[in-house]
Amino acid sequence: MQWLERHVPKLVLAPSFVAVLIFVYAFIGWTAWISFTRSRLMPNYEIVGTIQYERLAASPRWETAMTNLAIFGILFILVSMVLGLLLAIFLDQKIRTEGVLRTIYLYPMALSLIVTGTAWKWILNPGLGLESMVRGWGFETFAFDWLINPDKAIYTVVIAGVWQASGFVMALFLAGLRSVDAEIIKAAQVDGIPTHRIYSAIIIPSMAPIFLSAFIVLAHLAIKSFDLVVALTGGGPGYATDLPATYMYAMAFSRGDIGQAASSAMVMMGVVFAIVVPYLYSELRAKHD
C-alpha cells in the first residue's frame, strides 16, 4: 500500500514522460541528424557534414526570412507589450464597464490566426479595404499600400499580429496590476505622490515577473509564427514576408528538400533556445536561492 502511494505519481506521469521523450526530444535528435545529410524527397541517413547549413547561409531567401523574423519579432513584442500595458492601466481606473471592455479587447485572441490574417488581408488590400474606402470619401491621394509593397509588407504582419495579441497581454498585465498590494498604493496616495509616478515607480517595477512571462509567450509566438503570414500575404510579394517557419514548410513540403528544411528547423530551435534558456536558468537559480 505504501509502495503504491509512493509510486502512483511516477506511474501516472510515466506515459506522458515517455511520449514527450519520444515525440519531442527523439524527433529533435532525428531532425538534427537529417540536417547533416543530403536528404531530398525522402530521409537519407548518410551524414555528409554541414552542407545544408552552408546552403542555408548562401540562400538570399533565408536571409530575408531571418531579417523579417528580427523585424517582426522585435516590433511585435514591443508594440504588443506597450499597447497591452496601456490598455491594462486604462482599464484599471475602476471604470464601470470594465467587464465588457475587457472582453472586447481579449476577443481577438479567440480567433484563429488564419481568420485574423484573412480579415486583415481584406482590410489592407488597397483595392478593397482601407485605401479605397478613404479614397471613396474624397481623399483621392490617400495611399496605404503596405500589403503589396515588398519593403513594407512585413509591417502589415506586425499590425495584424499586434491586433491579435495585445488584448491577451492586457489581460496578463491587468492581473499583475491587481496583484500589487493595495496598501502600498494607498500609502503612496496619502503621501501625495502623483498617479503617473505611482505607476512608473511602484506598480510597474513590482510587475517584473509578468513582463518576463509576457515576453516569453510573445517571443515564442513570433518565432513559430506561420499561419498569420500564410493567410495575410502568402509570403509575398515575392518572398518579401517569408519567415523561417514558412521557409521550412516550403522546403519540406513543396520542394522535396528535407535536409534543407531540417537545417532551417535547427536554426529556428537555436533561436528559441537563445531566448528561453536564460529565462529557465534565471528561474531555476531563483528557486535554489
Binding site: 503589396i148 509575398g236 518572398y239 522546403m251 522535396g256
Partner: protein, 414 residues
Amino acid sequence: MRLKSVLAASVAALAFAPLAHAEPQAEVLHWWTSGGEAKSVAVLQQEFAARGGKWTDMPVAGGGGDAAMTALRARVLSGNAPTAVQLKGPAIQEWFEEGVLADISAVADAQGWAAVLPASIAGHMKCGDIWCAAPVNVHRVDWIWANKALLDKHGIAMPTTWDEFNAAADKLKAAGVTPLAHGGQAWQDATVFETVVLGLGGADFYRKALVDLDKDALTSDTMVKAFDQMRTLRGYVDANFSGREWNLATAMVMNGEAAFQIMGDWAKGEFVAAGKVPGTDFLCASTPGDGYLYNVDSFAMFKVDGADKIEGQNLLAELIVGQNFQKVFNMNKGSIPARTDVALDDFDACAKLSAADMGASSAGGSLLPSYAHGMALRGAQAGAITDTVTAHFNSDMSSADAVKMLAEAVANSM
C-alpha cells in the same frame, strides 16, 4: 516472380473474367477535388468499376498537392504505398530512385503507348528502360488569353512577338485599360517568366537554361533581356495584383477590366464555365515566339503486393491511356489528350490549336517541359529559379543582378 504473378493474374483474368475470382483493386491518391476535376476523376472510377474493379478513392486536397505528397511520404515510409499516385515530371523519377515504383511495361507494350505518345512526353513516363507512369493529359502553359471586344475596340491584333505585345500593351495602358491581368503569386510569376524565356531565346535556349541549367545560358545576355521584359511586364499589371489568384485574373479579362492574361489552358475552363465562347468572346494564342511548353498530369504506379492489386494497377494504367478516358477527361478539364490518335472533333478551337501545335513542335524538337509547373526540374532547382524570378518581379532589382542571383541560387540548390 513478379512477372509471373502478373502473367498469372492476366491469364486468370482472361480465363475466368465472369467469375471474378479476385476483383482488381486500386487505391488512387490524387488531389483532383474541385468541381470539374472531381467530375473528371469520377469518369475513371466508373470505367474501372465497369471492368469489375474495386476503386478506393484517396483524395487529399490542399496546397496544390503538398498535402497529398506528405500523405504519400507517410504511406511509402510505412511500406504501404497506394496503387497509383498523381505525380508528374521529374518527381516520378525521384520516387523511382527511392525504389518504390512498379514496372508497367507489360501494359504499355501491349497497348502500344510508344506509338501514340509524343516522344518527349513518353520520356517522362519512363524510369530507365521501363514504363512506370501513365499520362492523363497535356496542358499547354504558353497561352495568351485575350478579351476580343477590348482588342477590337482598340484595333489590336493578337501579338506574335514580344515587341508587338509591348506596343499593344502601351496602347491599352494609354487608353486606361490594364494590359495584363496577373496574379502576384510566385508560380504565376514563374509561368510568365518561362514563356518570356521561350519567346525571346527560342527552344534551344530554353532547353539549355531551364532544363539543363547550363551556367552560360543562365548568365547570358538573352537571360538579361528576359528579365528586362519581365520588368516591362511589371509595368503592365494593375496595382492590386499581389497575391491574387489566377482565376480572379482570368475574370478580369472576362469582364473587360484587363486585355491579356498569360496562363496555362486551365484558364480556358474558367472562360467556358462562365459561358464564354472561344473566338467570339475571348481569343487564345500561343505566347509570342515558337515552341510549346507542356504540363502533363500523370499517375505513377507504386509497387504493391497481391495479384488483385497488381491486376488493378494494370487495368488502371490501361484505362488511363485508353481513348475513351483521354477524351472525356480532357474535355472536362480543358486540356488535350496525351495520346495523339484521339479524334478531336468535339473539342473547341483552342484545344485543336493546342493539339496541332503539339504535333508540329514535337516534330520540330520544340516540345518542351514547363519548368514553372514542375515538369523540367526537381523541386529544389525549380524553386530556386522561382525565388529569383519572383524576387526580381516584386522589387526594383536590376536585370544584371537578377541574372547573377539566378546563377547563384541554382548552384546553391544542387
